[in-house]
Structures are given as structure tokens and as C-alpha cells.
Amino acid sequence: MTWTSIFIAGLITYFTRMGMIALIDKDVFNENFRKILNYVPSVVFPSIIFPSVLLNDYGTLVAITDPKIYGALTAIIIGFFSRNVIITIASGLTSYWFVIFVF
């Protein structure tokens, strides 16, 4: 089942790449649709980030002192100023591990 899912997901992804280049007339998308597509990362990724940070493995809210909260806040602050993908991830992981292993 998982293999089938991987192949279907791969086909859909390939279609998103190839569709506009080889099949569909690019004018088929109007300006409003393009504007909406610009928001896709801003609606999808927070939908992963918030539950991953705020909820535990059982789907209930974590305490405000949870290491994940510190890690995420550090990543947001460092990422905001550094604008660097790797520094953002590294700073978040470092502060997360610091709270877990040092405190």
C-alpha cells in the first residue's frame, strides 16, 4: 500500500512539474489563482509546525516549559535575523538538545 502511495505521489508531483510546460496552456490560470498559490507554503507548513511543537505523541498540549517550545522559538528568532536555512535548523536543534541534556 505504501509503495502504491509513493508511486501515486510521485506521479502527481511530476504532473505539477510537467503540466504547465508540456500540456496545459499557461493562461488557463488567472491572476487570482496565482495569488492563492503564493499562500500555499504559508498555510501548509504551519499546519505541520504548530502540532509538532505544541502537541506530544498522544495529541495533547505540551507544557510551556517543553524543550520543543524553546527549540522552535530559538529557530524562529535566529532564522528571522540570519535568513539562513541551516543556521535556523541548527540553532533550534542545539537549544532543544541543550534543554534536554543539560537541564
Binding site: 505504501t2 509503495w3 502504491t4 502511495s5 509513493i6 508511486f7 501515486i8 505521489a9 510521485g10 502527481i12 508531483t13 511530476y14 505539477t16 512539474r17 510537467m18 503540466g19 504547465m20 510546460i21 508540456a22 499557461k26 496565482r34 495569488k35 492563492i36 498559490l37 503564493n38 499562500y39 500555499v40 507554503p41 504559508s42 498555510v43 501548509v44 507548513f45 504551519p46 499546519s47 505541520i48 509546525i49 504548530f50 502540532p51 509538532s52 511543537v53 505544541l54 502537541l55 520543543k68 527549540g71 522552535a72 529557530a75 524562529i76 532564522g79 528571522f80 535568513r83 539562513n84 536555512v85 541551516i86 535556523t88 535548523i89 533550534g92 536543534l93 532543544y96 538538545w97 534536554i100
Partner: protein, 228 residues
Amino acid sequence: MLSKFQIFKIGFFDVAPHLLSVIPFGIIFGAIGIELGFDPIMTYATSLIIFGGASQIVFLQLLSGGASSLVAITSVGVINSRHLLYGAVLSEYLNKLSLIKKLFISYFIVDQGFAVSNIYFKKNKGQNFNHYHLMGSGITLWLCWQISTIIGIFLGSILPEALGLKFAIPLTFIAIIINELRKIDHLIVMVVSGLAATFFYNAPFKSYILISPLIGLFTAYLIFKFKK
């Protein structure tokens, strides 16, 4: 006039700085796949078949969390829908190619390759063989992604579970959208989507991953209306 190989090399050198973020990201992905309980072949297969960094992480995370295949596949489609925009822009420069070439090049279109090749296309309109730039950037990114995934799979199987590497998932996504935080409309949409996902997290088949983006997009629509 530049040769095909020279243009291919320019594509390689233009995209090279981006490898600093692509390679570690690939390693993180490979390690996460193992951490989430997928076998090495399956984890690697997503890099070969889907070849879309963030969407691969979401796909494996959802499946490991008990999401239905339909939800996981739809999420991949939603995340990768941005390629439609890239294709719409690139089609102007690739329209003279044969269908076979279009089908081949399409597989290698990713964010960073699109970014550098689009700049090159704009500067060198009318030059022959421009598509070799996109192949140079795309194939470079593809190779690095495949190799770094394999390195990550290897690391993931030797790193201790106590490190909690799963936490790299939200951190990776924070890094991806961090620049959008500067725009107030995006910030509002992000907070609404994130809170909605947390609220609907226990919805059946992990459907929160589709419900909350829809709520976010509706919020974006309302902001549009309000601005007008």
C-alpha cells in the same frame, strides 16, 4: 555563442551555492525517514520517485502517524502545487523544445534550480540551448539530493533515538517559511492555519493537514477582500 556543455556548466556553478542548504536538508530527510520507522529502500525511493524535499518529509510523517494514503498523497500534491507556477513561468522559454525534451527536463524542476535558471533565461533571451542551464542546475540538485538522502539514511540508522531527530521536521519547515514572517498577511494566515491544525489534530485519518490549509486559504481570501 556558448556551447551546450558551457551552458550546462553555468547552470551547475549558478546553483552550487544552494547546495550548502540542499545537502544538509537531504541528510536530515534520510535520517528522519529511518527515525519514523521506514526501511532504507522505501525512504530512498521517495527521493527518486517524488523528488520533492519538504513534501517527502510530510508524506512519511503523515503515513507513520496513521494518516490514510489519500490524505498523505493529497498533501504531497498541495505542497508541490507551487511547481505549477514555475512551469507557467518556464514554459515561455521551453516552448520550442520537443515533447520528449520537455517531459525529461520537467522531472528536474525544483525550487533552487527554477530560481537560478529563471534569472539566466531572463538575461539571455534568444540564445540557443538555454534549456541546458536548467538541466545543469536541475541535474546537479538531483544528484546531490540522491546522495545526501543515502548519507542521511546511513546516519539515521546509527544515531541514537534519544536525540529526538523528529524535531528536525518542524525546524526544517520553520526555516523554509521564515522569510514570509515579514509579511503581515502571511503571518496572520500562518497563525490561523497553525492553530487550526492544532485544534483539528485528532480529526480522522489525520485530515487536519487538509482542513487547516483550507481554513488558512479562506483567511487569505478574506484578507484580499478586506484590502480591496
